[in-house]
């Protein structure tokens, strides 16, 4: 049953995989905070290309610029200088309202602190981004229920965040991210607030999602999380210092 649900998303993904465009194409990204002498370079020239279906971990200590890069990839922030194409769309020149639309359609976010809307059922949380896209109620409900089934929470649709464990909340967040059928699943320290059992479950879920063809980018500083990815990008001082394939998993 679970596999069947994932298979459908594979069909959905096929249109993307036939596309030659990379999902993420960042060229010469510079992000500077402040003006003049006091300015700090959070990104000091980053080039990154991620192809459809890839599973990439971005690693680095705090202050390395990985959060800034994630904000830029996630269209939450724009770079000072450089170019960024998300699924073939030029992002850097967009205004805030256009960025909101791009975020809704192209990116599924997963945050360290889950960021579910409080006092709102799991189902309503998963439906919310689709509501902002103007998807009809019936379709919304169908897709939300399917997504919750994929993450294994079919029996918890009417629970509010406070009635769910951390691992379950994060899986609701994954369902919310998947339901919009985004080009990219972007996870920022997704296991940072989870115990080891929930972490393992979540990483298994990511494997499954990626195996179904979805592009997954995980920002993390934990080696065991990064080891599940097929490609690891390491950052320091606003630059990429290594970009390697994970031998054990690249097969």
């Amino acid at each position: 049953m679970l596999a069947a649900a994932v298979d459908e998303t594979v069909v959905d993904q096929l249109s993307l995989t036939t596309d030659v465009n990379p999902v993420i194409d960042v060229r010469g990204a510079i992000k500077r905070y402040g003006e003049g002498d006091a300015s700090i370079f959070a990104l000091a020239g980053v080039d990154l290309k991620i192809m459809p279906g890839e599973y990439v971990a971005i690693m680095g200590p705090s202050g390395s610029g990985k959060s800034t890069l994630m904000n830029i990839i996630g269209a939450l922030d724009i770079m000072t200088k450089g170019e960024y194409f998300l699924d073939g769309i030029e992002i850097n020149s967009m205004d805030e309202s256009a960025l909101a639309v791009v975020r809704g359609r192209k990116i599924g976010f997963i945050f360290q602190s889950f960021n579910l809307i409080a006092r709102t059922t799991a189902l309503a949380n998963v439906e919310l981004p689709m509501a902002y896209q103007g998807i009809k109620k019936d379709e919304r409900r169908k897709r939300a229920l399917k997504a919750l089934e994929v993450v294994g929470l079919a029996g918890r649709v009417d629970h509010e965040p406070t009635e769910l464990s951390g691992g379950q909340q994060q899986r609701v967040a994954v369902a919310r991210a998947l339901a919009t059928r985004p080009a990219l699943l972007l996870a920022d320290e997704p296991t940072g607030a989870l115990d080891s059992k929930s972490t393992a479950d979540l990483l298994d879920l990511f494997d499954q999602i990626n195996a179904a063809g979805r592009t997954v980018v995980v920002i993390t500083h934990e080696d065991d999380v990064a080891s599940r990815a097929r490609r690891v990008v390491r950052m320091r001082d606003g630059k990429i210092i290594s970009d390697t394939l994970n031998k054990g998993r690249a097969a």
Binding site: L76, S97, A100, R103, F109, F111, N115, R119, Y132
Partner: protein
């Protein structure tokens, strides 16, 4: 919409208090304007009781005002023949009737009970209609009573109570300044017009009062009733023409009489009470404004409290307009519900007498207060809402 509602139910006490602020504002607008309106209606009603179509003619002879001195010895008193002339249907087509009045004073007694009527008139039966006075017990006196000079009297409720307590006064005899009068009728209660008790009243046939108390020389006034309020100005002109002819007056400055028009009294009191109503309305509008500021305040707090939620919504693709409308809807619901409760309070509150005035609701004020409260919700809610909508998602997400 659903999310906006949820935002409101999250903090019920706060929502209730904010709603209450608007409700009080709206209710006070409705009630205070109703009080103003009620007081104006009350003044109008008491003037109506005097008879709105009536014009009273007084003599300026005998030292009343400057004209008395100017007119000198040539001035004439008001006489019965003036009243007869004013009653002429040919010369005065717009006058329905005229009634001469002689005003007596004195104390009336029955056994050991005494009263001093505020008004003691000798007049014609036409006075009753001209002055809008009706009988609740017994009968009016007739023209025949006037011709015969019968000592009969119609008395007011206060006079009746003073003299007879709860007993029926009809058929009883009272003595006024020693002269006996048989009581044949009691007038309906008029109430006070603010200056004097309209029910402290004795009315008798003109001839009877003249013969025994005031003499035949002069009248105190003549009450004229116009055919309708519309022709009052025409009636006024006719009065002037007839009276000038009767008294041989050559110029307006030499007139030895003056007229008092109820319509002008009414206009004055109406303008007074509308000033009163406007003042009350302004006070109420201020409280509505304060209620509106309450909404802004609460919405600002709500926005700050939900900064993180706004961040999440924006991160998952909520456009600016969606956030804006969510908070605007929330503010509008607050003011809408507050306005509704206020209207309810207003209607309930208007059922009670306030400082002796029965409020009369002005439908326009209800619409206005309700409409303004909704607009206030939109207006005062728009600032916090636009602040929420323009929050940057990364900053909002970082907010704890």
């Amino acid at each position: 919409m659903r999310f906006a509602l949820r935002g409101l139910t999250t903090n019920k006490l706060r929502t209730t208090l904010t709603t209450l602020g608007i409700a009080i504002g709206v209710a006070s607008v409705i009630i205070l304007i109703a009080v103003g309106n009620g007081s104006s209606k009350q003044i109008q009603a008491s003037i109506d009781k005097l008879g709105t179509n009536t014009i009273t003619i007084n003599s300026t002879r005998g030292g009343f005002g400057r004209r008395a001195a100017a007119s000198g010895s040539s001035s004439k008193p008001l006489t019965v023949s003036d009243a007869v002339a004013l009653s002429s249907p040919i010369n005065a087509p717009d006058i329905k009737q005229a009634a001469p009045i002689t005003s007596a004073s004195g104390t009336c007694t029955v056994g050991t009970s005494t009263t001093t009527p505020g008004t003691f008139y000798g007049t014609w039966p036409s006075w009753f209609e001209a002055s809008n006075t009706t009988i609740q017990k017994g009968t009016y006196f007739t023209n025949d009573d006037v011709v015969q000079g019968r000592h009969v009297a119609v008395i007011g409720a206060t006079t009746a109570t003073d003299l007879f307590g709860t007993d029926n006064p009809i058929g009883q005899v009272m003595r006024c300044s020693g002269i006996p009068f048989t009581i044949i009728g009691e007038t309906s209660v008029k109430g006070s017009n603010g200056f004097q008790d309209g029910d402290s009243l004795v009315v008798s046939p003109l001839t009877a009062v003249q013969r025994s108390l005031t003499g035949y020389n002069s009248l105190s006034s003549i009450v004229v009733e116009a055919k309708s309020a519309k022709v009052q100005d025409l009636a006024q002109t006719e009065i002037n023409t007839i009276m000038d002819a009767q008294h041989r007056i050559k110029s307006v400055a030499k007139r030895d009489y003056r007229t008092l028009n109820q319509a002008s009294l009414l206009a004055t009191s109406n303008s007074n009470s509308s000033v009163f109503t406007v003042l009350l309305g302004v006070v109420a509008a201020i409280s509505l404004l304060v209620g509106g500021i309450g909404i802004t305040n609460i919405m600002l707090v709500t926005v700050i409290e939900r900064t993180r939620e706004i961040g999440i919504r924006k991160a998952i693709g909520a456009p600016k307009a969606a956030i804006l409308s969510q908070f605007l809807i929330e503010a509008t619901i607050l003011s809408l519900v507050g306005g509704g409760i206020g209207v309810l309070f207003g209607y309930i509150g208007s059922n009670f007498k306030i400082i002796g005035i029965q409020p009369v609701i002005v439908p326009a004020s209800v619409l206005l207060a309700f409409g303004v409260s909704v607009l206030i919700g939109l207006f005062f809610g728009s600032y916090p809402a636009s602040r929420a909508a323009s929050l940057r998602p990364i900053e909002a997400l970082r907010y704890e």
